[in-house]
């Protein structure tokens, strides 16, 4: 059923049950938000996405408001802007939000909100930043930049179910903790990096990317993770031909943005000098470079010879976990259908 809502006087038609923020985003109407993430749903905590809805008392968080049919919504009134400015000013005041050399400069939702609200210098006071936690192998935590939106916590507990992060303490002392508030590197964290991907600011960042490139200097290349058969979709953030960092593609199957520690951080091997670039054939105990045709012919010939001399059951195949499901299917087809043996297995089963 088609529904209608009026946002800033503009008539918008939409389908299904959607929140005001979702409708606005689909129609390119900018409403700043901090704690909302499409994957996590509304949290209603930051109060930056508030709007005025005719007939409703007070300002409403657009992330959690499902409009009534024909609702009239205003996203830009003085009251709304004042409220947003108050929150963003407070957040900028309480912490170390210095964009100059921040890794996420240009890709920060707090910075976006401040930019749109025209806040150059925070209106209140600056707190002493807390110490950074550099103990994680791949993830750096900077509590001074944390706005306590809880997205990392939701991701850690609800999406990847590692249950490492949570809120500790309360009120002004509230902070994101690992286990019993110990350094990340000493905690049960497996460094999957889901929290980094969900962080709207620079409080959780990829250590390997530090100092490599400004966000606008990179371009993205979409690819499939080579580590296992799941086929997670990756976005490589490249500066020229070098990978700066890797993120999961949020709206793609099968991983919906999630990655494991290997897929996200284990990409150095592609730059290794030891990497093979052509097939090698060993002759008299020494490897020599060969073409693919030559190498494949040699292997095919040997297989045929073995089958002829000793029968197909003298061969066995183990498919590699790094190959895709489709490749593993072909591998068993080759062994069962072509070679004529059932000796086929997968390394993940052994």
């Amino acid at each position: 059923m088609t529904k209608t809502v009026f946002i800033d006087g503009k008539k918008i038609e939409y389908e299904g049950n959607k929140t005001l923020l979702e409708i606005a985003r689909e129609n390119n109407i900018y409403i700043p938000s901090l704690c909302y993430h499409p994957k996590l749903g509304p949290a209603s905590m930051c109060r930056v996405c508030v709007v005025e809805v005719e007939g409703m008392r007070g300002l409403q968080p657009s992330c959690a408001t499902i409009p009534a049919e024909g609702a009239k919504v205003l996203t830009n009134t003085e009251r709304v802007i004042e409220a947003r400015k108050t929150v963003v000013n407070l957040l900028l005041s309480n912490g170390n939000h210095n964009c100059l050399s921040c890794e996420v400069n240009g890709d920060c939702e707090l910075q976006d909100a401040a930019y749109h609200l025209g806040i150059e210098i925070p209106a209140f006071l600056i707190e002493q930043p807390e110490e950074r936690d550099e103990s994680g192998v791949f993830i750096l935590r900077d509590p001074g930049k944390c706005i306590k939106c809880g997205r990392c916590i939701e991701g850690c507990n609800r999406l990847v179910v590692n249950e490492v992060l949570d809120f500790g303490y309360r009120g002004g002392e509230i902070k994101v903790i690992c286990d019993n508030d110990i350094p990340m590197g000493e905690s049960t964290c497996v460094q999957c990096g889901e929290c980094v991907q969900l962080c709207p600011v620079g409080a959780l960042i990829d250590k390997k990317a530090i100092g490599k490139a400004r966000t606008w200097e990179t371009h993205t290349v979409r690819t499939t993770c080579p580590y296992c058969g799941v086929g997670c979709q990756l976005e490589l953030h490249m500066k020229e031909d070098q990978i700066v960092r890797v993120t999961g593609v949020e709206d793609a199957q099968p991983n919906q943005g999630h990655l494991c520690v290997k897929g996200r951080y284990g990409y150095d091997f592609i730059y290794s000098g030891d990497r093979l670039t052509t097939p090698l054939i060993k002759e008299n105990g020494v490897f020599r470079e060969a073409s693919w045709n030559e190498a494949l012919d040699l292997v095919a010939g040997k297989f045929k010879q073995i089958i002829q001399e000793s029968g197909p059951d003298t061969l066995a195949g183990v498919s590699c976990a790094r190959s895709s499901n489709e490749d593993s299917y072909n591998m068993q087809k080759l062994f069962r259908g072509v070679f004529g043996t059932n000796n086929i297995d997968h390394c993940a089963r052994t």
Partner: protein, 571 residues
């Protein structure tokens, strides 16, 4: 884990429909067994027993003030320095203890005997200054009594508390004769007509009880003044899910100490109210969520529940007394539900309202102690009789608590609509000259002496006067008190109690504390005053729960009504 502990854990878990509700009572058990200290190894044991993550347990332990995550002295001396305590001279007690024990606030003496803390509101407003020693209250303290207390504790003696204060009941409905030793027993209660209303109610149709309560027009006594009968009628009809009733006994609004008077001395009235209300709303399970600091009152309630059960009064409902663990925000109904479900007390966004999605996702009614304690009277005597008490705007008996600068602070049960003047006179009159008064607990706008002159104490009159009756906690302030200092105490309370979830409340309270401190220390600028006012204006209504209003409204009123005092601080 020790075998006997396993048994105790099982007993705790069995009290609740869902296991997760048992997490805090179990944490308490481990803390009690470890010299009042919940260390990492204890938390690990709880995490294992409950199959919860370490960060969850740590998050709970550091949210609620009653968990000690650092080792603590044998005697934990906690002085309430919130507004009423401050007016009663709590600061002098803290000063005295600092010097006497030679430690700062937050420190432990070298011999490990004493830890000194200041705490925010122990609901002993008329009996301040109050020191809580471990789980025991010492009220009406003076320097001499404090000195004696320390001596006694060093000798291993735990002296008796002196909770004396003025108690006057004109209505005689909610407050009973506490001078009678057996006042809290079932026998005494029944001798005075107790449980007859329940008997009458059980013969009625539940919807008739709801209607009677609706007709009485009783408004919630916890502070929000929502009509109780209307609240009940929001419950969905023909819903397959169980209905829960929660008696909100998390009395924590500074200036408020009325519910404890009913629970401690007239516990069966509360239980009868819960029993009738549970029957009316179809709840087979009810909880009394009582603030954890009231540990002895929780025990009184548990004893009373047992007595009532043995007397076959509670065949239709099971009542469980659940202790809170130190959080003002858990007085909010949705935060209370979260807390009862074993989580940090973060209020939930509404809708959905508890009536449709409350405890364990089931229809839930949360009512204040005083509201529920009024129900037996309504059922026994009818809505009309209730409406004959007080008026013309609001009806029924009301317990007004008076603290601060009066000669005889205490509790006064008078009809709704009684003049403030009458109550203050009954409380022995104001010490020196009245400067201002807060009539509904700390969260409502302060009134100047002139504004309060002819005030009637009911919801509508207070609203007309630009304030709110709230919980009926009346804080009297005389001409010795600088309002900026009072304002700082006020915002410090909310900064301490903010759950930290909504950014405007969490950050706003911090900034206001710092700005006010700056002003009082003579480091402020003139702009700071307007900046605080602007912040308050913008934060009001911008948060999930009413705490955003609870601190902005009183701060705004204090500054606007006494602005010259703030301006005088700017050099």
């Amino acid at each position: 884990m020790k075998k006997e502990n396993q048994e105790r854990l099982k007993n705790i878990i069995e009290k609740y429909p869902k296991m997760e509700s048992a997490v805090m009572p179990i944490m308490q058990l481990f803390q009690d067994e470890n010299q009042n200290y919940l260390g990492v190894s204890e938390m690990k044991e709880v995490a294992n027993a409950m199959n919860m993550s370490m960060s969850k347990i740590f998050g709970i332990a550091t949210y609620y003030t009653m968990f000690n995550t650092k080792p603590i002295g044998k005697y934990h001396l906690q002085v309430d320095t919130c507004v009423p305590g401050f007016l009663h001279g709590a600061d002098e007690i803290v000063e005295y203890l600092r010097k006497k024990l030679n430690i700062e606030v937050g420190e432990t003496t070298q011999d490990g005997m004493f830890t000194l803390s200041t705490v925010q509101d122990l609901a002993s407003c008329a009996t301040g200054p109050v020191i809580q020693v471990n789980d025991k209250y010492y009220e009406n303290m003076t320097i001499e009594k404090t000195d004696q207390l320390i001596k006694d504790l060093l000798e291993g003696k735990e002296p008796e508390n002196d909770p004396s204060m003025t108690v006057v009941s004109e209505c005689g409905i909610l407050l009973n004769d506490r001078t009678q030793k057996e006042c809290r027993t079932l026998e005494f209660y029944k001798k005075n007509g107790g449980y007859q209303a329940l008997k009458k109610a059980l013969a009625m149709k539940p919807e008739d009880i709801v209607n009677e309560v609706k007709e009485s027009q009783i408004k919630g006594r916890g502070g929000a003044a929502f009509p109780a009968g209307v609240k009940w009628s929001f419950l969905p009809k023909n819903d397959p899910r169980p209905v829960y009733l929660i008696c909100n006994a998390d009395e924590g609004e500074p200036g408020t100490f009325k519910d404890r008077q009913i629970m401690e001395f007239n516990p069966h009235l509360v239980i009868e109210g819960i029993a009738i209300s549970s029957f009316a709303v179809g709840a087979q399970k009810a909880f009394i969520y009582i603030r954890g600091e009231f540990s002895w009152i929780a025990e009184i309630l548990e004893t009373a529940v047992e007595e009532a059960k043995k007397d076959n009064q509670l065949e239709h409902v099971e009542i469980t007394v659940h202790r809170g663990f130190g959080s003002y925000v858990c007085g909010d109904e949705t935060a209370q539900i979260e807390s009862l479900e074993g989580r940090r007390g973060n209020p939930r966004a509404k809708p959905p309202f508890p009536a449709s999605f409350g405890l364990y996702g089931c229809p839930t009614v949360v009512n204040n102690v005083e509201t529920l304690a009024s129900v037996p009277y309504i059922i026994k005597n009818g809505a009309e009789a209730f409406k004959n008490i007080g008026g013309p705007n609001d009806f029924g008996p009301k317990i007004y608590g008076v603290s601060g600068h009066v000669n005889n602070p205490g509790v006064f049960e008078y009809p709704m609509g009684t003049k403030l003047k009458t109550i203050l006179e009954t409380a022995g009159g104001v010490k020196r000259k009245l400067k201002a008064v807060i009539v509904g607990g700390l969260s409502v706008p302060i009134l100047t002496a002139e504004e309060a002159e002819d005030l009637s104490l009911d919801f509508a009159s207070c609203q007309k006067a630009g304030t709110a009756l709230g919980s009926g906690g009346i804080i009297v302030i005389n001409d010795t008190v600088p309002i900026p200092e009072l304002t700082l105490r006020t915002i410090e309370f909310y900064a301490h109690e903010s759950c930290g979830q909504c950014m405007p409340c969490r950050e706003g309270t911090q900034v206001i504390v710092k700005k006010l401190k700056g002003l009082i220390e003579g480091k402020g600028k003139k702009d700071d005053i307007d900046l605080i006012l602007r912040l308050c204006g913008n934060i009001k209504g911008l948060t999930i729960c009413p705490t955003g209003e609870a601190f902005t409204v009183p701060i705004q009123a204090m500054i606007t009504k006494f602005r010259p005092e703030f301006e005088a601080l700017v050099r």
